[in-house]
Symmetry: none
Subunit: 256 residues, 2 copies
DNA sequence: ATCCTCTTTCTAAAATAATCATAATAATAC
DNA sequence: GTATTATTATGATTATTTTAGAAAGAGGAT
């Protein structure tokens, strides 16, 4: 044996995570083993819930029904979020201080600011810290707090106090679970909502990264009413109703 | 015998730390011993928690594809720190709250508490957060603060305030650059020193993870005088002078 | 739809490779 | 010298991969 079986399965896992699907024949050739061996590998990985076997190969498991973990959410609508993140990054000027929440959209934003200079970034997302930790030109601050393992974000009253008592920022970029006119901005968890409220309260400008999935959706924990938002960045041409709602609240609309 | 057995094991440890996985057959040829000998080596290294044996070889115990942190390439000291970390972990009882600083020794400690229950861990080290982020049984809190990119630790007045105003703990485990009788505990950077001072001030018991490299070494930023320490865990049999120093200050000595 | 063909999957057995248990041997320590 | 430890040798056991033939799916042509 030239490589470890477990190592091969790890690599298959990595491949499917980036390519979203794999072919048995392709992997068999790549690792120089028979298709039967690959099928056995895929069977094991399926039992671990990593992928779903299909005729001829396998696709990424979408964690059906249950709450998506952070890693899984990352790939849903990645292209849309990437576009929104890139547009949002263009709003940031050098020397500014910005808050980023623990949303996937904010992570995509972070990927677009690596070469900006004199920036201070404050976030409660450990993924954003990891993403920017090698940027010498960015002053990177974590809010700290209790680690929420599902989101890999820092939350709770510690995070909230840290934000309110120590920081202020020019801009706050965030996303959330849903938005409706009557209930406003709502999120999946109360703890995240508190953190976002705090960041909102100490920021000059509030920018909502709003892909089409958020529109009309609502959840229980309320972050704030819609009028707290200054700018919305979205990926769809808004219908008349939404356009009227946003314009009535004096919210700038950016479509990407 | 052409090489010492323990030396061969150290080399295997070094190889797996850089290559992330090893093959029994490969190592057997490389060291010109039988596969059985290599298997015995891997068995010993597995018991020490360095690697995980798999069919045909072994992989690193710190998750596949995982990153090696800054100082972990120093394999010889790694073994010492691992021993100290394991001994320190034995001092922790379930239900306790502990502070861990951003030292390599504390990281090794963290690796030994993954199956303890009801623990609350507060740390300013992003490596420790990453290490424990999958432990559902551990309440994990980050101090937050400005990210020091060299150490991947959170420091500064934000971290210090967070600690002093929000937390308290049963035990504080730390290491530092050096210790001498006259100057006490000293560290490489002032920022780290402030964080350690704060953690010390709000902890019941202070436990110093002190491998032999620290003894007699000194640096500029002072953390605290030696009498703030309650327990020292060290890897060498202390000479009379050090023993008298510690015992004179009523410090417990644990040798591993 | 049914039939046909090609491909993939499944199953079980055989082949290969690695591990384990144990005893024997070699090296080192006391 | 003996005691202790490390290494090797051997055969039994177990894990993995391959092989090969049967069953089932996909897709096109009739």
């Amino acid at each position: 044996m030239t490589t470890l079986a477990v190592e091969r399965r790890n690599q298959i896992e990595a491949i499917i995570n980036t390519k979203k699907s794999v072919l048995v024949a392709e992997l068999a050739e790549q690792f120089d083993v028979t298709p039967e061996t690959i099928r056995a590998d895929l069977f094991k990985l399926e039992k671990k819930g990593i992928l779903i076997r299909t005729y001829g190969g396998a696709t990424l498991s979408t964690g059906s029904g249950a709450e998506l973990t952070f890693k899984e959410r990352d790939v849903v609508n990645a292209e849309v979020k990437r576009r929104i993140g890139a547009r949002a990054a263009a709003l940031i000027r050098s020397g500014e201080t910005i808050f980023l929440d623990a949303s996937t959209s904010a992570l995509y934003l972070a990927r677009n600011i690596k070469d900006k200079h004199g920036l201070t970034v404050i976030t409660n997302a450990s993924s954003i810290v990891a993403e920017l930790s090698e940027c010498e030109n960015i002053k990177l601050i974590s809010t700290g707090g209790l680690l929420s393992k599902r989101n890999m974000s820092y939350t709770g009253r510690f995070a909230e106090r840290m934000i309110r008592e120590n920081f202020a920022a020019n801009k706050f970029f965030f996303s959330c679970k849903g938005v409706t006119e009557e209930r406003g901005l709502t999120d999946a968890s109360e703890e995240e909502a508190y953190v976002k409220q705090a960041m909102m309260d100490v920021s000059d400008t509030v920018i909502f990264l709003c892909d089409h999935n958020k529109l009309g959706r609502k959840s229980i924990p309320v972050i704030a009413s819609l009028d707290r938002v200054d700018t919305v960045i979205t990926d769809v041409r808004l219908d008349h109703e939404w356009r009227n709602t946003f314009e009535g609240l004096d919210i700038d609309i950016i479509t990407v």
